[in-house]
């Protein structure tokens, strides 16, 4: 397509976007959804399998109670109603990575319905309504070998690994999100980020987008103001928070250019490409498969005891939004400051650094300053920067103990980020330590006073501010290994001036 895309501002001035998100979360239960096979990641192909998850003739599923508990907790955290009685359903379609050629899922009787999740976007709270949260089983993975592309076309063989087949998956579906205008891409991103944080807080999944334990499909449509919603597309393969935002934006632009040219949007699945940031068409939904859903006769209905649900609700941990508000208060931050912490993705990092023994101010300084800068430069998430909260706390401890000054600390931090070791190790290996040997330092101070008699006189006559020049001179001779505060006091002392 050679069409030039319209400018984003123009698009949102003319069209109203409606978005919707379907998120799949792999639960971190010890065993699979319907059998006792382990769920650990990375085993040799087809070593985490049994007659049940291979769909061998005669085998039967038995629902994993831990998975049901996990989804109820997710539903409660998302303010959903928990069904007192619901069933699994079979979704029938042929695919080789699906052992039974049907997926055990839920259809018209999901376990959690009608919830919401509040997210912050640009200082505003946006309420995202949740339509349903249901439980299903994951499929296996197909690997096409022998071809150049790794795709089925041109491959000589297709291999299937069923280790993932039967891992419990939770699907969370929002209601259509309207009225967000130009912020639609940010709202989508903020929702997924908040959802991820909620689920992580519940401890039911490691929610790693890059490993696929959290996967996201984004529905997007555009309509003219006052008119009916447009035809939507479903963008799959959106595997990072940044991609969620880019996928919505790119799909809005693409649809606008089609509509501007008098075309019509095809209801279809589109694939998002991380590298180019755009989407390409997948299978058309206009010839949609009829999944022939019907209640799963091999499983009894789920009827969670309301008393148990109440217990689970009472035992929910503090959820991220509440938690953040409490931290903001504890850290004494303004809304604006807290927003910058949030934008940087630094809440948990700062919290952990404080827990490791540092003041909130110092922790915030390192994570929002030096480390955010490095993360931006290398284009990685702050949490992936290579410095841990413990290391940052250790670094600040060295500063507080007077062993490192600010400049040296930054050098040590570079080393930490580059993987050279702990701050103490780097301080030693790089020979960076504040010169605290008073004899050596006194000699350097005396030398600087002697070399700069004019400045010394100025200080003696009361122009204490001039001490900076002598501090600089000593720093130069000691290659910066002196603590500026100590040095200042020492100079004044040698000159007989009260600081």
């Amino acid at each position: 397509m050679t069409t030039t895309l319209p400018a984003y501002d123009e698009v949102v001035a003319r069209y109203e976007p409606v978005i919707g998100l379907e998120t799949h979360v792999e639960l971190g239960t010890n065993t699979k959804m319907f059998c006792g096979c382990p769920t650990d990641f990375g085993g040799e192909p087809n070593t985490r399998v049994c007659p049940v998850c291979l769909g061998l003739p005669g085998s039967l599923p038995v629902a994993n109670k831990a998975a049901i508990e996990a989804i109820i907790r997710i539903g409660l955290a998302l303010n959903c109603s928990i069904a007192e009685w619901c069933r699994f359903a079979r979704k029938n379609y042929f695919y080789p990575d699906m052992p039974k050629n049907f997926q055990i899922s839920q259809y018209d009787e999901p376990i959690c319905v009608d919830g919401y999740l509040d997210v912050e976007v640009g200082g505003e709270t946006v309420r995202i309504e949740i339509e349903r949260v249901h439980l299903e089983e994951d499929t296996g993975k197909t690997l096409h070998v022998g071809g150049a592309t790794g795709r089925i076309h041109g491959a000589t063989e297709s291999l299937v690994d069923y280790n993932r087949a039967g891992i419990p998956l939770v699907e969370i579906v929002t209601k259509p999100i309207t009225g967000t205008g130009a912020l639609a891409p940010d709202v989508a991103k903020a929702y997924v980020a908040e959802l991820r944080d909620v689920i992580r807080t519940l401890g039911v999944s490691d929610v790693r987008m890059e490993e696929g334990s959290l996967r996201c499909d984004v529905n997007t449509s555009l309509n003219l103001p006052g008119q009916e919603w447009g035809t939507r597309t479903e963008t799959k393969n959106v595997n990072s928070l940044r991609s969620v935002e880019r996928a919505v934006r790119s799909e809005m632009l693409r649809q606008a250019s089609v509509l501007d040219a008098g075309g019509r949007i095809t209801q279809e699945t589109r694939h998002f490409h991380e590298d180019t940031g755009d989407t390409t068409p997948g299978r058309s939904k206009e010839t949609a498969t009829d999944y022939r859903y019907f209640p799963e006769p091999d499983l009894v209905p789920i009827a969670p005891d309301p008393a148990w649900v109440a217990e689970l609700k009472a035992a929910l941990p503090e959820l991220p939004r509440v938690h953040r508000r409490r931290l903001q208060e504890q850290w004494g931050l303004s809304d604006l400051d807290m927003q910058s912490v949030l934008n940087a993705g630094a809440v948990e990092l700062i919290e952990a650094t404080v827990a490791a023994g540092t003041t909130p101010a110092a922790a915030r300084k390192w994570w929002l300053g030096e480390l955010s800068r490095r993360a931006n430069e290398s284009g990685v998430e702050l949490a992936q920067i290579g410095a841990t909260p413990t290391q940052v706390a250790e670094l600040q401890g060295l500063v507080d103990a007077g062993k490192l000054n600010d400049k040296m600390a930054r050098t040590v931090l570079e080393g930490v980020v580059d993987g050279e070791g702990s701050p103490t190790e780097i301080m030693t290996s790089r020979g960076l330590e504040v010169v605290s040997d008073t004899g050596a330092l006194t000699a350097a101070v005396d030398e600087a006073i002697a070399a700069n008699p004019g400045i010394a006189d100025k200080i003696r006559s009361g122009k204490v501010a001039a001490v900076g020049a002598l501090v600089g001179a000593v720093m130069k001779t000691t290659r910066g290994q002196a603590d500026a505060k100590t040095l200042r006091e020492l100079i004044l002392e040698r000159l007989g001036v009260q600081g």
Partner: protein, 491 residues
């Protein structure tokens, strides 16, 4: 020693336990009988000679070591080929599973092994248990030992014929719409369908998950009860299994055998004693009712008007579930694979495999079920059939408020001639007219021989409330004590 193959399971177990014969001797006698007659009967799809003798030796060794043996230790059992048997071919009567040796045992098979019974082999059946004559087996039909030109019933014709031909004293069947009871009736043997959930379905290759019920087959009621006791009970690997102990069916069979039914109220299902049944069948049934009355039972007629809709409801529910259950047979992981020549797409290979692997009756039901579940038709077919199922359950519940058990002929006719109904599926389906309501309700039902019509056996069916399996054994054993057992002509 008299002929070991003519003995009851109870007698065999007692002789083995007493050291008067060995399990190996018993097993060999049955293997010899199979070798002598099965080329004419074709009850077995696979005879596991080595496995059977090894299991028998193990029982003998345990006895020699002074270990306590279970009530059926050393007794041979024939297992319908619908149950997964570790390392032993399991075909479900279909070409699509030819050569498949499961890596695991069905729960029932495991319980049979633990009880020290000796599995002789796997018995013939209509493909995927879909049929009433065993003529739909992909491996050729089984012949009725009473008249080799007639059908042995189905789908479990192999198990029933093996009993009637004295190839095995006990057998396992599975009953989705009558596949244990109807073959029992037409071969003069006893077949019991337990309460749904009373016997584990784990390892039973599914036809219709909400209806399939494995159960015991024997030549007399007490043997069936003993086998029921061994295979029944809760299984955590089957969610639909009932977490309660098996009702004491053995005690009930012994109580019934005393011939006293004082205080037992029986209801004849009015709808099943009308014009549909053959006169000879009705005559044998009426005589049995008289016998039950003489033993003290109070017999009344009970109308169950919704039973008339059982057959159409069944032929929507069962095919719907089967269309989904049979999707896994695609040639990817096990069994037959056709057309994988390196040039065909996966979808083509799947289609060719299913085209070649499934027989016509299986295809017919997959198509009916696929249609009934499809979007826009679901409510009119599958949904409606489920509502009928609820109504049938209500009729049963109402009936059991008036009577302890319901009775009817098991089938409308005696064994029909081979080939008589294969051209007309509806005529074939009618063979299960009286047995299907019980499956839709989920309660237990048993067929017990009650007489002969033109030299062929007639069965009487006793239906009881769910988890009251003991009641039907009591009534069946009482009837057996009055009318005796029936022996087919020598083969």
């Amino acid at each position: 020693m008299s002929d070991l193959t003519r003995m009851t399971a109870t007698e065999i177990a007692s002789l083995v336990a007493g050291g008067e014969t060995s399990a190996v001797e018993v097993t060999q006698a049955h293997l010899d009988r199979i070798a002598a007659v099965d080329d004419r009967v074709h009850a077995f799809l696979h005879v596991d000679t080595d496995g059977a003798l090894a299991a028998a030796r193990a029982v003998d060794e345990r006895r020699a070591a002074g270990e306590e043996l279970g009530p059926l230790a050393g007794v041979p059992v024939a297992v319908k080929d619908v149950l997964a048997t570790r390392g032993v071919p399991t075909t479900v009567g279909s070409k699509i599973l030819e050569g498949w040796r499961p890596p695991y045992d069905a729960t029932i098979v495991q319980r049979l092994r633990e009880a020290g019974t000796v599995m002789l082999g796997k018995t013939n059946m209509d493909e995927f248990a879909m049929g009433s004559s065993t003529e739909y087996s992909a491996y050729g039909p089984t012949h009725n030992p009473w008249d080799l030109s007639r059908i042995p019933g189905g789908s479990g014709g192999g198990s029933a014929a093996a009993l009637a031909a004295y190839e095995a004293p006990l057998a396992i069947g599975s009953d989705t719409g009558g596949s244990i009871r109807q073959p029992g009736a037409v071969t003069g043997t006893v077949g019991a369908k337990p309460t749904y959930g009373g016997t584990s379905r784990y390892g039973l290759v599914a036809f219709s998950s909400s209806l399939d019920t494995p159960g015991p087959c024997a030549r007399n009621v007490l043997d069936a009860a003993l086998l029921h006791q061994v295979i029944g009970g809760h299984d955590p690997r089957d969610s639909t299994s009932i977490p309660q102990p098996v009702p004491d069916v053995v005690a009930a069979a012994k109580l019934g055998a005393t011939g006293d039914l004082t205080g037992v109220r029986l209801g004849i299902v009015s709808e099943f004693v009308g014009e549909g049944a053959e006169p000879g069948v009705m005559a044998a049934f009426r005589e049995s009712v008289d016998a039950l009355t003489k033993m003290g039972a109070e017999v009344v007629e009970v109308s169950c008007p919704t039973f008339a809709y059982a057959l159409p409801a069944y032929y929507l529910i069962a095919p719907s579930e089967c269309s989904s259950n049979l999707a896994r047979f695609d040639g990817v992981r096990f069994g037959l694979r056709v057309g994988d020549d390196g040039n065909r797409s996966l979808e083509e290979v799947m289609s060719l495999t299913r085209e070649a692997g499934f027989g016509p009756e299986v295809k017919r039901r997959i198509m009916i079920g696929t249609y009934a579940l499809s979007s826009g038709y679901y409510d009119a077919y599958y949904g409606q059939a489920q509502k009928v199922r609820t109504l049938i359950t209500r009729d049963f519940t109402a009936a059991f408020e008036r009577v302890d058990a319901l009775i009817s002929p098991t089938t409308p006719s005696v064994a029909f001639s081979m080939g008589a109904r294969t051209a007309d599926p509806y005529q074939m389906y009618l063979a299960d007219l009286y047995t299907i309501p019980t499956n839709l309700y989920g309660g237990p039902g048993i067929s017990v021989p009650c007489g002969l019509s033109e030299g062929l056996p007639v069965g009487l069916q006793v239906m009881a409330p769910t988890m009251a399996d003991d009641r039907m054994y009591r009534v069946a054993a009482a009837l057996e004590s009055a009318v005796g057992t029936f022996t087919p002509p020598a083969l």
